[in-house]
């Protein structure tokens, strides 16, 4: 039987604010346990949570960037359950009236665009962190993360393969980082993903029973977990067994998903409006102001790069994957033109250096000006492309401008015709056999002469000039 996979994703993104969503405690990661907590975080009686305006505006940015409709009136609700990472006994979230709904983002799949629907985006608070004692029946609670602002982005079940799901996640991640509303750090949990996955016989309209997957902390793991889960469900169906609706945890080391030990009773959160938090009213003026603050988004930038710089879509994709990298690229092009050459140097050498040291472009020792100067020097014939390979290596190591490195290394290209003619004459004289063969029709030997000239000049000869002169002189 042929199956179709159906995937929907829920992403929790931590908002890049200085303070928590409902109080003035710091959101900084990694502080002394329980040092970023106040009576609001601790759920003390009589406290009043007050909404951080920036969280609303950040959420609005994401809503607009993902083509959602912002609800003119949205409000908070209490989601009731008992767990030690949640001191109040409820999480403040949005339920019936979320911030935004009915959006979509576009994916590029085999050169075609596919729409993935966004069901809703809502604001909520994060819970604390639990650590379990290995030897004793106790757990330890750190409430620094309690009340850290999150937005939850829920997709429609529109993805049809684990690759599509991974692609959607990457695009979503990219948008959040471009908007500068989330740092996107998956290891520290600033960007988390749960996945709903089911399979159904191809052609069937109704969805199959789904499993919810948790505990995947990288794009790769999301894809691996989904691939495993699809296989598991297919095996069950093919062997006449039933798929159970449940939550399953991804085990990275074993490469499998296991059912989560379920809590005793079924969840019944008894949501109700939080009386402490008044409704958020968003008017058109506010939306217009936020829309004006939106930066150019990745997809638009990509298309502009292809159009304006005439570079391949692949190059545009690599260069715009990181907003800072795109900015660097444009700075270089502004200074020296030659967009394709710049792209080659940035994607080839600069990114390779950075990747080797796991740095990002903001930490790149080669300034945009230096790279532009180097490319100009090649264009002017002052150095050859081959020499530039050594120069850029030193530029990265030392952070010096190319002119200094060229001077220090004595790398100036020989463009003096008279000097080169002398060198070439000597070489021709010393290679009578090769000359005879070349003139007899063995044109491949041209390369031999080029090599000899380069050797004699330690690679400093201007290659174009060498070619021209050799052609003339070998012809006799």
């Amino acid at each position: 039987m042929e199956f179709e996979t159906v995937i929907g994703l829920e992403v929790h993104a931590q908002m890049l604010t200085d303070t928590k969503i409902f109080c003035n405690c710091s959101t900084k990661f990694g502080g002394t346990p329980n040092s970023h907590a106040c009576p609001v975080c601790l759920g003390m009686p009589g406290v009043l949570p007050v909404l951080n305006k920036k969280v609303v505006e950040y959420g609005m940015k994401m809503a607009l960037a993902t083509n959602c409709t912002i609800n003119p009136s949205n409000s908070f609700a209490r989601k009731n359950y008992f767990y030690p990472d949640l001191p109040k006994g409820y999480q403040i979230s949005q339920f019936a009236y979320p911030l935004a709904e009915h959006g979509y983002i576009l994916l590029e799949i085999n050169g075609e665009q596919k729409k993935i629907g966004i069901t809703r985006i809502h604001m909520e608070e994060d819970a604390g962190k639990l650590m379990h004692d290995e030897n004793n029946p106790v757990s330890y609670v750190d409430l620094n993360r309690t009340g850290v602002p999150l937005i939850e982005i829920v997709s429609e079940p529109d993805m049809r393969s684990p690759e599509e799901a991974a692609d959607y996640l990457k695009r979503l991640h990219e948008i959040l980082v471009y908007l500068e509303i989330c740092d996107g750090n998956m290891e520290e949990g600033s960007f988390r993903c749960d996945a709903n996955v089911s399979i159904r016989p191809k052609g069937q309209k109704e969805f199959g029973t789904r499993a919810e997957l948790k505990n995947m902390n990288s794009f790769r793991n999301v894809q691996r977990a989904l691939e495993y889960e699809v296989k598991r469900q297919q095996y069950l169906v093919e062997n006449g067994q039933k798929i159970v609706q449940e939550t399953r945890l991804w085990d990275d080391a074993q490469g499998v998903t296991n059912p989560m030990r379920s809590k005793e009773e079924a969840h019944d959160y008894r949501y109700f409006p939080d009386p402490d938090l008044v409704p958020v009213m968003v008017d058109e003026t506010w939306i217009a102001r936020i829309r004006e603050e939106l930066p150019e988004l990745p997809l638009v930038k990509r298309e502009r790069f292809v159009k304006d710089y005439q570079i391949p879509a692949y190059d545009a994709g690599v260069l715009t994957a990181d907003k800072a990298l795109a900015l660097y690229y444009e700075d270089v092009v502004k200074l020296c033109g030659k967009p394709k050459q710049v792209s080659n140097w940035v994607m080839g050498d600069v990114l390779r250096f950075l990747n080797e040291e796991k740095r990002d472009i903001r930490q790149c020792p080669i300034s945009a000006k230096s790279l532009a100067d180097m490319i100009t020097l090649i264009e002017e014939g002052a150095i050859s492309g081959k020499m530039a390979k050594d120069v850029i290596d030193d530029m990265y190591k030392t952070g010096k401008p190319p002119q200094d490195i060229i001077k220090e290394k004595g790398l100036v290209q020989i463009t003096d015709e008279g000097e080169l003619i002398k060198t070439i004459s000597a070489i021709i004289e010393a290679s009578p056999n090769q000359l005879k063969d070349y003139r007899g029709g063995k044109e491949k030997l041209f390369g031999f002469f080029v090599g000899q000239v380069m050797k004699a000049t330690q690679g400093k000869a201007n290659p174009q000039l060498v070619n021209d002169l050799l052609k003339k002189m070998l012809a006799g």
Partner: protein
């Protein structure tokens, strides 16, 4: 009475369990009766025609109460833990829970 939501002792047991409350059989009977009285009273509202009236979630007409994103001092670990029934080092300590 016709049309009125009627609570059973099972409903009371379920809600008590969700709220982690222990109730005796006697209390269960008592609360069931009391809650049904309340529902009966509230049911009076159903006599009004509310077609076209948006549901009300808050008793006051205030909207958009915001706070600026400025860090203020927290309690500090020691004071945060001061009222805890059990703590160790910099942490609250609770009976083991595993998801």
């Amino acid at each position: 009475m016709e049309g009125i939501l009627k609570l059973t002792t099972q409903n009371v047991e379920y809600v008590a369990k969700l709220a982690r409350l222990e109730v005796t059989n006697q209390e269960k009977e008592k609360f069931t009766a009391q809650l049904n009285d309340i529902l009966l009273y509230i049911d009076k509202l159903n006599e009004l025609d509310t077609t076209g009236v948006a549901p009300m979630s808050h008793a006051i007409a205030v909207t958009n109460a915001f706070r600026e994103d400025k860090v203020a001092e927290s309690l500090g670990t020691q004071r945060a833990l001061a009222n805890a029934p059990d703590a160790r080092g910099e942490f609250f300590r609770v009976p083991k829970v595993i998801d």
